[in-house]
Symmetry: D2
Subunit: 359 residues, 4 copies
Amino acid sequence: MSGTWGSKIKLSIFGESHGAGIGIVIDGIKPGFKIDKDYIMYQMKRRAPGDGKFSTTRKENDEFEIMSGIFNGRTTGTPICAVIRNENTKSKDYEKTKNLMRPGHADYTGYIKYEGFNDYRGGGHFSGRLTAPIVFVGALCRKILYDKNIVIGSHIKSIKDVNDRSFDISDDSLNVKKVEGLSKQEFPVLDSSVREKMQNTILNAKKDGDSVGGIVEAAVVNLPAGIGDPFFDSIESKLSHILFSIPAVKGVEFGAGFDITRMLGSEANDEYYMTKDKSVSTYTNNNGGILGGISNGMPLIFKVAIKPTPSIAKVQRTVDIDKKENESIEIKGRHDPCIVVRALPVIESAAAIAIMDLL
Amino acid sequence: MSGTWGSKIKLSIFGESHGAGIGIVIDGIKPGFKIDKDYIMYQMKRRAPGDGKFSTTRKENDEFEIMSGIFNGRTTGTPICAVIRNENTKSKDYEKTKNLMRPGHADYTGYIKYEGFNDYRGGGHFSGRLTAPIVFVGALCRKILYDKNIVIGSHIKSIKDVNDRSFDISDDSLNVKKVEGLSKQEFPVLDSSVREKMQNTILNAKKDGDSVGGIVEAAVVNLPAGIGDPFFDSIESKLSHILFSIPAVKGVEFGAGFDITRMLGSEANDEYYMTKDKSVSTYTNNNGGILGGISNGMPLIFKVAIKPTPSIAKVQRTVDIDKKENESIEIKGRHDPCIVVRALPVIESAAAIAIMDLL
Amino acid sequence: MSGTWGSKIKLSIFGESHGAGIGIVIDGIKPGFKIDKDYIMYQMKRRAPGDGKFSTTRKENDEFEIMSGIFNGRTTGTPICAVIRNENTKSKDYEKTKNLMRPGHADYTGYIKYEGFNDYRGGGHFSGRLTAPIVFVGALCRKILYDKNIVIGSHIKSIKDVNDRSFDISDDSLNVKKVEGLSKQEFPVLDSSVREKMQNTILNAKKDGDSVGGIVEAAVVNLPAGIGDPFFDSIESKLSHILFSIPAVKGVEFGAGFDITRMLGSEANDEYYMTKDKSVSTYTNNNGGILGGISNGMPLIFKVAIKPTPSIAKVQRTVDIDKKENESIEIKGRHDPCIVVRALPVIESAAAIAIMDLL
Amino acid sequence: MSGTWGSKIKLSIFGESHGAGIGIVIDGIKPGFKIDKDYIMYQMKRRAPGDGKFSTTRKENDEFEIMSGIFNGRTTGTPICAVIRNENTKSKDYEKTKNLMRPGHADYTGYIKYEGFNDYRGGGHFSGRLTAPIVFVGALCRKILYDKNIVIGSHIKSIKDVNDRSFDISDDSLNVKKVEGLSKQEFPVLDSSVREKMQNTILNAKKDGDSVGGIVEAAVVNLPAGIGDPFFDSIESKLSHILFSIPAVKGVEFGAGFDITRMLGSEANDEYYMTKDKSVSTYTNNNGGILGGISNGMPLIFKVAIKPTPSIAKVQRTVDIDKKENESIEIKGRHDPCIVVRALPVIESAAAIAIMDLL
């Protein structure tokens, strides 16, 4: 069991890629909050496949129906359920290959866990499609956080071995406007000179029937100090819990992350100073805005490793789970050569949800 | 609030560094399980400061008293509570410096969160001392897992910029005996030629009144396929949740982790084959034994980034939170120049606990 | 927040009487369980208004759509979501009276809690209609329990002051067939001679524009000994928690319940004996099959007090919440003169759900 | 598993009657709250056996040690753990009778659930002694509620068939002073003329080696409107959940409870009126201050059925669980002929805890 999450808010996610629909229930949202459907649709569109240049050309219906919890355009305070119906789901295609376990996918682990009863079509419950309801809830939460001036943004830190620069506490890339503006870029990077190289890396992989991954760096600005807990609900714990539920995420780090292990304590420690208006600030932000699991008022910074899309056109070695024989598989269809761009709104949503649960 | 964790088992942790004592309640352990006190003490000793060469020379009392849940040497099935009393706690020392926020510590975030009412002595509830109850529970869980042939071990992957090699699916470092044997090394590495260089790195930092961090790599072998869940309780989610509650952890990655983002899909995907005895295996293990949040039967591999100990002897810039003025601080006392070695049993314990909760 | 419940299974309920729809997500049901739609519809029909003789003549659409978690007619092991769409919802009617707080309803408490943003139409989220998803899940659970030979049934113990006899451990009314058979009665009583008197009591109240309540007595037979927990998840705790969420429930008692307070200890204690096949039994069942929160293998017996339907045709004194003035209200429409009969499958479902969560 | 409870606060209870000690962890209490040890001890004393006239003459040590979460006499905001050590526990006595299942006790159900590994001495984890930590936490919560002017009190509604009158909305027995004052009575009743008859009923049972039970009626005054939730966390759900974990509780009802089933809707509905200061009130309080699971600002009223103490001196029929034979048992020792008086502070505490969790 796994479909519920949260303490102060509760999520309950459901659905399979080729079932009747997917959706989510969110409980714990205060009454009276005005729903901005355009904003939700805008965020969901960022996750949608797009024009197919860097993503699949497959069309996905992401139109959501709100079943409950909204009345006269405002939250009622009771559970909100949103459903996204599945359409044009060619199920027959999957029958033939259902026993061939796609490498890098959850076909085999799902088969074992659910004793062969899982819906194998299009990845079933493991489908990346399940991130659409996350973006729905994320958009809701982001608007609520925005009213508190808490803003979340992210950029593509790397595609394969092409790197963007990182957020830097000393420049202005971390002000509200800039962070927010990132989501208006179709391919958000801090250093625009790396964009084309990143895109070419994706297109080359696509041409070869292969795929690439990358790293997303996200920032939450204006998170007040004092949010989060020590054992067991640190900001890092809450955030990583939900991030590591997102398909393809294999690493999460905060602040300088793994790089902090190569610093001396005297370099890593973020020394304090009083600002002119007598608030506490730090000279550096190696701890990513978190100490003892609790926010210190500096920007919350984290990075997420996204593995290359497991669906590739190349022939791969696998097994037939029914016949218990070695086999080869060639995955047909329109695949994402890279899901990093589409992952951005999902990661930002996860952050918004985790923060809502801690506030 | 944060002190409870878990679904199938429930932990409830409590205590401050200089209060009456620290401890933990664990509920959900099956009745009839024989308690091995020696094994528990052995694991707790690994976490204890040791002879002080690479760690603090401060003595910590780690003797635990079992208050409940054990009868005639076996678990009763009711909640187990273990208490570790604090001793020789020189509280007076802390009075003078209580308003000086130590950089890299949770002094400031704790002050804000708890509105100045937190126990500031020795880090209070944020103290690394709180990891002792985690090791107690971890030892309990490890013994239970051991009966199912599930074994956990870890080694020091790096100290600052000195690197050990990684677990390699193709060599024998991942068999039960070897993994288990790691904990018998005082300073566990896979490639013994790097040990001295690592130790010198620590000693040099110590000499300079500075500190270093590092990376721990852990392996869980013989975890059966089918454990874990997709949204929201993937193995990665559960494990990272508890790992990121451990003080000083700033990054967690599974399998190839951040490195997988630099591979092509065709390299990253772990292709399958049937073994002679008709079980499913993979040629590589870039996914660290987890797909779709669920174990696939391969070794579960993860790495944890430990930041340099924030307590250093060097003078640091900080603020006086009461006077709201800039200040400098020089932290006296016997500090750990590096806590990576002591972190190993804590990380292994966290893994054991997370797995117990998923089984 | 309140919409989620459970440990081993998780429910997430949503919906308003006059919104797009109502529904439920249930997580934690094992894969491979065959869905019996006819059985579910049969149970839902028992809860539906019926022919209107003893209930409202209002038509309610109880057709459910399964959105997820079922594949090829069997559970997949992933969250199951069922949605029931609302139809013919004449919302305009409610506009005029929305500020008049109906006595005995949740209009006022909902208004305060949700700060006036709640959906007031037809009771909104407080509507008895929300019990339909409970019956859906209950039917699922009952079938699973039935495979373990655990059977749940209930009868009308009283309507106003007309009483049926109670389950008696010494007669055969507690065998599987009899308990199960109860649900086949349209108006289930143990002593059929009281049926007509009960029905006349309802019809008289209806004629007077008034309403009546009653007591439901339920039995769970073949529940194995050893289910449930002491602090804090006793069978009584779990069961009462969910029963007291059902609208109109004002009392819950187990075994002899409040009557046990009038016995001597020597009368109340259920003495033990060994049966011929060396299993443990009791001579009496004053404790209703539960000791220390745990089942003892005897039939689990409990009673539930259902208050008279608050919707009555008589003029009642109330307030206008907007104008802050005294007012009178005459509730128009087709009301249930008594909801006890319709409550039976809901109570049985609640029991099935609570037991599923404890097994 | 069962030892944890709560959402906004989290309890974790542990201990056995004859183990090293019993205790509780409570998390989620705000920092800065001043601890009133005298008040806690006063409440714990109410639960303690007393002078033995109406209760056991057994001495119980109820001295608690606060292990954590309190600093300089105030809550720190981190988990509070209190431990009560067990003393003078004559364990040998229990060895001889451990296979004889005491009727009305949890010996048999505990034996089955914990597979014979439970601590059988003095009821082990099922002991009424476990209510001491509940009173500890309850006293903490009551003081916090008291600062919000929310006051809890209770009286003995009945002992066996001797009845006190009920709280009446129209008299002054429900004002803060009177409700609070109840706990200052050693044997709290509303109508003092019934006290002696009740006490004689207890003494007669004692003389006969028998026991009696009774009903406790409790009131919470000044609970603001808007507290609680519909599905699944109604006030009734939360409160009954914790009440039904208290040993010996067999029934819980709110407001008129089971009696409401014998009223007409027009009698049962609590009609509204505006008070002079324009607040909403009701003429009657049959719903006990709760509608739709949410408080309406009227006094919260509930009754709890306490069964006769199962420990009686009379010979009873039972089984030897080891030999699987019929046996007789004569329970030696100093028993409570009635635990209703001692149950009052426990029930009030449970109410305080449930309300704290909902506020």
